[in-house]
Amino acid sequence: MSKAGNRAERAEELIEQTGEALDDGKHPMRIFNDDGIYERELQRIFAKTWNFIGHESELEEPGDYARRYIGEDPYIFVRDEEGELHAFYDSCCHRGAQFVRAEQGNTSHFQCPYHGWTYRNDGELTVVPYEDERYDDLDKEAASLVEAEVETYKGFVFARVVEDGPSLDEYLEEFKWYLDIALDPTEEGLTVVGEPRRVRAEVDWKVPGENFAGDSYHLAHTHGSSFELEYSSSIWERFDAAGPLSQSYSVMTDTHAGEYYLFDEEPIYMDYPEKIEDHMNSDLSERQREMFSKSMFITGTIFPNASIWHGFNPIGGPWASIRLWRPVGPGESEIVSWLLVPKELEDDEEFLERAKAGYQSLSPGGVLEADDTEVWSGISESSNSATAIERDVRADISGGLEESDAVPITDGSHGPGEVIRAGPYLDEVYARTLFNSWHEFMSEQR
């Protein structure tokens, strides 16, 4: 490690060291909070990958728009008059001023507040004040709004800054098999409830992303106080005598990772009202339907920073959620959460109350997340230190690397990818998977 080296050199060294250390299940702690690493993450990961920007159901009418970001870059997520979804870079082609001042709204045109250049909500420049008097032959087509690549999977909309790369379908790999169950289990699909919730915390985006990809190991310690509560204790009686350990599974594809809990004995359908059984999406295979019927919850992280949740926990639910750990600075994130429910149940008040109770457990005011953010923010502070560099401090994600009591499922009885029973407690391969993805993008091997 170049101890006195400049920021760029240090960042490149940290990336290289991560590549080497991952073979031993380690990575430099400093990558959780380092200026040089952060700059490169924005350029090499967030500009190059598919980033979740919103759900189709947020923009019901033509002209509905929402302010969204890809990494730190401001975008306008909008439905045009023809019903097409777009993600426009929020910057006028004239002098770069922004159009959007609200988080959500509706407009047929975006008019620049600086000199009045006006664009239709499909991005086309339509009005330039004094156009004839100022320009001989302004190429208005070339001055259309810069637009990110936009693709949708089961109603979930992703955008990418760079033009070239794999399709969203390719990018999601075999993880789609699990996403189908989590994001589109019923005939009518999921729909958002209300506006997303936002909170800012001193948390590096990689930390919660990794946590949601399969860290059940932290539950007893981080959330001990919540699981001791009266109303959460009944949940544990529903597990087998062997406890949650033997009912938890990790799943890893090349780039993404997740976990799920299954009740093998009886179909519980995530604790949904019974009628859900009659509304299962017929596109799901029999094995996918069986997995949904046995599930307590499915969670996971679509690299880099979109985590999904569907199911119930000791506090409430079932509910579905997608969460963005949006980078807003080294070691700092804005946590954005969307609540979704099956459209079939969106007017069922009794169900919604349970769904919201669960959803709130993972809110800044929720008993679970309040403790998560408290713990995660300590990581940011300690990582951004001279000690982390001088003493070459490493994070340990080697659990289960050499051997563990976790059981690989190789008989094809689950879905594709690498599936491990008890993995969420005994094997940190989910974390190694995500840090491998991180290293591949950061070392520009992709």
Binding site: V193, R198, V199, A201, S226, L229, A370, D371
Partner: protein, 185 residues
């Protein structure tokens, strides 16, 4: 639930009778005592002054264009909706060692102002107040400030007023503190 840009106090036009003035001072005193209990983490004593059907809500605030017909305070999404049972559980939780969010305790200070009576009935008083809640955590001296307007309904009981209902309209579209524990509301 009230929506709109700001929860507004309707012009009640009620006269300042001696009874109304007395109500005003009683209610203001309740809010100030309650704030002291929250600041000092005397949460069990605070919870003694909740009705059994109490609900506390913190709606999500959304930045919207002026003149938008959609409410700024979401009518369908909240940071928090807690009823009596959950409030008691939360109070119990914060007493536990592993409640990291408030172990050690935040240094909290409510400054309450703009207290105004709303509708006053025989057994219930509607009251509005603004507040600035200062919160310091950890050992590095960093602090957060949460600004809000509250609307509360206080009900007269045998032991004096009890909180029956409350909306906490925070002024932030992005919660500026890493978590929102009870003493910050």
């Amino acid at each position: 639930m009230q929506s709109g840009t700001h929860p507004q106090l309707d012009e009640t036009g009620d006269e300042w009778t001696p009874e109304r003035m007395q109500r005003f001072f009683e209610v203001r005193e309740f809010l100030l005592r309650e704030a002291n209990l929250l600041d000092q983490f005397e949460l069990e004593r605070w919870a003694d002054h909740l009705t059994e059907d109490v609900e506390i809500r913190v709606p999500v605030r959304v930045a919207r264009d002026a003149g938008s017909d959609r409410p700024e305070y979401s009518d369908s999404n909240h940071h928090l909706v807690v009823g009596h049972r959950d409030l008691l559980e939360r109070v119990a939780r914060l007493e536990k060692e592993y409640a990291w969010a408030e172990n050690p305790r935040s240094r909290v200070r409510h400054t309450i102002g703009n207290v105004q009576l709303g509708e006053v009935t025989a057994d219930t008083v509607e009251v509005f107040n603004n507040q600035v809640v200062y919160r310091e955590r950890g050992t590095d001296g960093e602090s957060d400030t949460i600004s809000a307007r509250r609307r509360s309904h206080l009900r007269e009981t045998d032991e004096g007023f009890a909180l029956a209902d409350r909306d906490v309209f925070i002024d932030h579209t992005i919660v500026p503190s890493r978590n929102l524990t009870l003493p910050l509301l």
